[in-house]
Symmetry: D2
Subunit: 289 residues, 4 copies
């Protein structure tokens, strides 16, 4: 396929590289163009403008946050895009913005698919992401070959794009809560002289297996938060989005509130650029250790 | 081995049955003796008194809670037990009580091992429990053959029995938090018209696999909390014990506090005997759904 | 003085009436003009456009919220205002918007004073408001005679207008917390069969006197939330603004988070238009009563 | 009257001194007898044993906490007390213990009045305490002359002694919440460069007057927590009792949970002996200031 790709951060670059490797024609664009160089070296075409990227069969975008997405789309990009183009937005954005974008695309005869992904850059590099997709069924059908290159599994959540974003935010909220929970438990155990790694070993080998408890749990046990696989600052962004989505439909999320408070505490202590697991440090610090 | 077994609730009965099946001689005792009948039918001897059960090579106890344990041991049971006896306490009790029992046993020349287990009665019946053991190494070595019959894996956490209880409480706290988290996320998703089962499917097949997210998540998605595998009332008991253990070493556990508040809310609404997953109903109710 | 007045809700109308009564010339404007009729009957001039109101010596504005304020000022109003005009913004708006407005006014040679008030419409009608003012000292000096008509006391908090908004938000947060606290205490007391009015009587006549504990406490004791003196929906708005102001400077506010959660719970149960004291109903409902 | 007085801490000594000054005959007893010396110098009789103090018309007790109260009464004191004696327990104890003591007294033909007080030692010294009394009406009638010497006002809350304790705990919870609220607001204001004293001045002179906001607010504004008028450690004790009373009747108290978490944080940082206002320091520390 002839694919435009917008947003070449760590995740975006890893995904675009996989598309190239699979033989797709990929036109790449990034706000700071130097990030495109490695992909161009792998055969990508450099789009001179974002409008050039927004053409062909399909455009994938992986921008940082709501502000970045609005910055691109509020500038009139959609007016110039060719009718019938499919835009797959892989960014973790707010439910409200996803809904607004879906309408804006539909009004202009464009197809909008939300396809946020689960997995960090190393998983993206292996083409093993979990893709959570929602939008018009025919559009997703046409995009599926690209998804198969990027991820190991595509979950299809119906025709309303924002539903995929809501599930993605619920998933990230779940990760945040698991981290906080391990952090609190670890602080309690340290207080009693128990090795935190024992607790992590026990739960990850029995009732709570998987990469979240394993990966973040190890960081908490070792009190080592660098290199950051996923930054606390970005974790706070996603927790805020989950709370906002809940507020919009009058749902209290008390654990979400604790996460927000504690991530703000982490930021206040200069830990925003450290790994999300640094929530463990908040718990340790509050217990005077 | 010649094994005494005290406490024949669902868990205790399943464990004792496996010991019998493996060819051990088992003397059983329960406060209400009718619970012993099925085991006697399987070959167990009925101990006339708890003192009779507290004899032989080894005694396993699986009593309901701190009050039940204190009820038995504060009545002078240890004075009459034969020196050298190993007592393995599998109950989920407080860290403070475990520490007190360890001292009381040591003073009387008895060996005390804490060995709380992870897994519900159906897992116990299969002999697939995860055993978290701590206490004198030689005592655990001698008990290991019995553990091998009961569980699929024994984690050894050192020589201080209460450390095993602290890890068990941390594990149950982690389960409670996972349930609450799914409940809050579910309420948010329902508010946006998303099927909760989609969220559960996505996370359990990717980042958060395993029996906790799978089992409780399904109950929350279906809003079905009976039959209760583990009752909310007992979940609150364990959350209280975790908070108490944390308080004893000056550790705030804000997610623990949310869990306590919400489990009290569940109890207040008559849901104490329903499954622990009923935390999902608290979140739903608070959002007016 | 020749005073423009923008925003004729309950508070604004009561304030404008006092200015008229004191002999000032008042030009009034409101988005829905029928609200101006009673004031015109009392001698106010009706401004045909908001630009007509933004003239003279001084303009007071009392708009509903950030959206209403932005709606007016982002439409270019300041470009047309006469240089040297003093604008006193009495609305409870965000710290961030106050700071932005201060800059926008200064850039155009206009004087911006933030002067949010403490007190409900009945207090406003009596000219007994507490005024919390910040901005250029000379501007406040010139406005003081108008303040003396409106309020019983003006607190001057320095030259940065947003400081007044921050204190106003802190004050409203304090009120919200006092209400929530009484609600929780009341639920506990009801559980023990104690008359809530006894508790309210004891604290308001000793350690916690004053209109907040007295007024809201009586509503909670009587479980009567209508007529609404200050609506729960507006209370949530202000709590959100306090949390936002705290987030902007990396300050966790855990009680603020509880207030937000519980006010969302109130909204979810259809109580947004009832009095702020309806937080007491959230606590009662959570305890099953 | 012939009055026994048990428990000569700061509060007890101040109260007993007032009774002496009013001409009552007072027999004093304290676990560490040297505390009795100043009162003996003022005319009190030293009771050789606590049994000697538990005689006469009336005994007032002001012990530290549940453990101290149980320590005295579980030792058989009531068996030896003369039938018809009135015991007025002024300590802040749990609702559950109050209820148990009421029964124990009644069984032995003794009259039990709960009369916890509001006010710190300096208020006690002035005879200006607020007394919250509950118990048999005739007993309170007979004690009233002593209450009139001790306090400025006696609130009578009916015939069940534990009701007075529930209200006392609700009052102390309300104080704790007011302190926490000011602490959080102060941290937010400091973040924006606002003087905390401005906020305290505004609220205490308008919507939230009285000694709690004034006294603790000043300490928070000055970040000065010594000398401790009421220690954080004791504040945590009372918050725990309020939560326990609520738990007993299935009432969630989410602000109570925040208070508990934050007071534990204070204790963890070595601030247990500083003033209750040190909650403000927890908020400041969490914001990195």
């Amino acid at each position: 396929m002839d694919i435009g790709f917008v947003g070449l951060g760590e995740m975006g670059s890893a995904i675009a590289a996989n598309l190239l490797r699979a033989g797709h024609r990929v036109r790449v664009w990034n706000r700071s163009p130097e990030k495109a160089a490695p992909l161009v070296a792998q055969g990508a075409q450099l789009a001179a403008t974002i409008e050039d990227a927004f053409a062909g069969d399909l455009v994938l975008s992986m921008l940082a946050d709501d502000a970045a997405v609005r910055g691109v789309f509020d500038a009139g990009l959609l007016e110039q895009a060719p009718r019938g183009l499919i835009h797959v937005n892989m960014a973790t954005i707010s439910v409200a913005l996803a809904e607004r974008l879906a309408h804006a695309h539909a009004e202009r005869g464009l197809h909008y698919v939300a396809a946020p992904v689960l997995g960090r850059p190393n998983v993206a590099a292996l083409g093993q992401l979990t893709i959570v997709a929602a939008g018009p069924a025919e559009a997703i059908d046409r995009v599926q070959p690209a998804f198969d290159v990027i991820g190991k599994k595509t979950w299809r959540l119906g025709s309303l794009p924002q539903h995929a974003n809501a599930v993605k935010l619920a998933a990230n909220f779940s990760i945040a809560s698991a981290i906080e929970t391990m952090g609190e438990a670890a602080a309690m155990l340290v207080g009693h002289g128990v090795a935190v790694s024992d607790y992590i070993d026990v739960i990850t080998n029995s009732i709570l297996p998987g990469p979240v408890y394993q990966g973040y749990g190890t960081m908490i046990a070792e009190r080592r938060y660098e290199p950051a696989m996923f930054k606390a600052r970005l974790g706070l962004k996603d927790v805020r989005l989950a709370l906002e989505a809940a507020d919009a439909v009058s749902v209290p999320m008390p654990v979400g509130s604790v996460l927000r408070d504690n991530l703000i505490d982490a930021i206040a202590h200069g830990d925003g650029e450290r790994d999300f697991a640094v929530l463990g440090e908040v718990a340790a610090r509050r217990s005077g250790r």
